[in-house]
Symmetry: C2
Subunit: 157 residues, 2 copies
């Protein structure tokens, strides 16, 4: 439940790897190819390729073709958020089906729906969480985020 897809996991790993290589070398031009990442993390090569293609299409990384080709981060690591990565791979993220209703389509329960409003609030919170964390933050391993609730503290499981 609420699990990321494999593709999303792979995307995060790959981006973290690319970012680490660039930062480590201090050379933004160093490209890293699909095979290198796939072998490092035991990811199916062709699937990872597809993931990277998608990321490139969404302008999170740049693709360099031909021999010695590969991928490079399109922006600085601190300018890429987790939310952006996930949205690139899986489309707009929303907890509920009715989050991104276009006119005409709406859920059968919309009229008497009693959970729409509170769920949208939860969704906003999750989105803030993911959009406030960047690729840069994932590198260091430092504590990042705190949550405060105005009600219902200390509910035992």
């Amino acid at each position: 439940m609420l699990k990321f897809s494999k593709k999303a996991d792979y995307a995060l790993m790959a981006l973290q790897h690319i970012a680490a290589v660039q930062v480590g070398d201090g050379a933004p031009g160093r490209v890293v190819n699909t095979k290198e990442i796939a072998e490092e993390y035991n990811i199916p090569l062709e699937l990872l390729a597809k993931v990277l293609q998608t990321l490139a299409k969404n302008a999170l990384i740049e693709s360099h073709n031909g021999p010695k080709g590969g991928y490079v981060l399109a922006r600085r690591a601190r300018q890429i958020t987790i939310a952006q990565i996930l949205e690139s791979i899986e489309g707009p993220l929303g907890i509920t089906d009715c989050s991104h209703e276009k006119d005409g389509e709406f859920c059968m329960q919309r009229e008497h729906c009693n959970i729409r409003t509170p769920l949208l609030k939860v969704q906003d919170s999750v989105y803030q969480l993911l959009n406030n964390m960047t690729l840069q933050d994932m590198m260091g391993g430092t504590p990042l985020i705190m949550i405060q609730s105005s009600t219902a503290q200390g509910v035992e499981r």
Copy 2:
């Protein structure tokens, strides 16, 4: 992406409805049956039944059999958290596959995994969010939760 399943949505609607009926009447003994909920929210009857069965098995609601039977909340609305509801329906919730590793099984990438630690932090935050919000909170429609981040404020999309 990150979407709740239909079953989870139905569970939340049903529980909210049951809670509302009880609170509204002030009578904790008032039972509400599957059919009533299904018709109110246009939910497939048999599927909703299955959801309610699961909730009953997990002791979130009590089932009363026979004519005039139905379901009643097993506890007060403020003692039931969103996290508990979701876990009842979908099993333990975790963002990553490696969240609940039992000994022996582990993901192929575990050894060189570079995103495990930060993702577990995100997961904890989401869990806190869901576990700090109760069924009671969903009734009022009042603002509930705030998030603060220590880094990376104001990242534009």
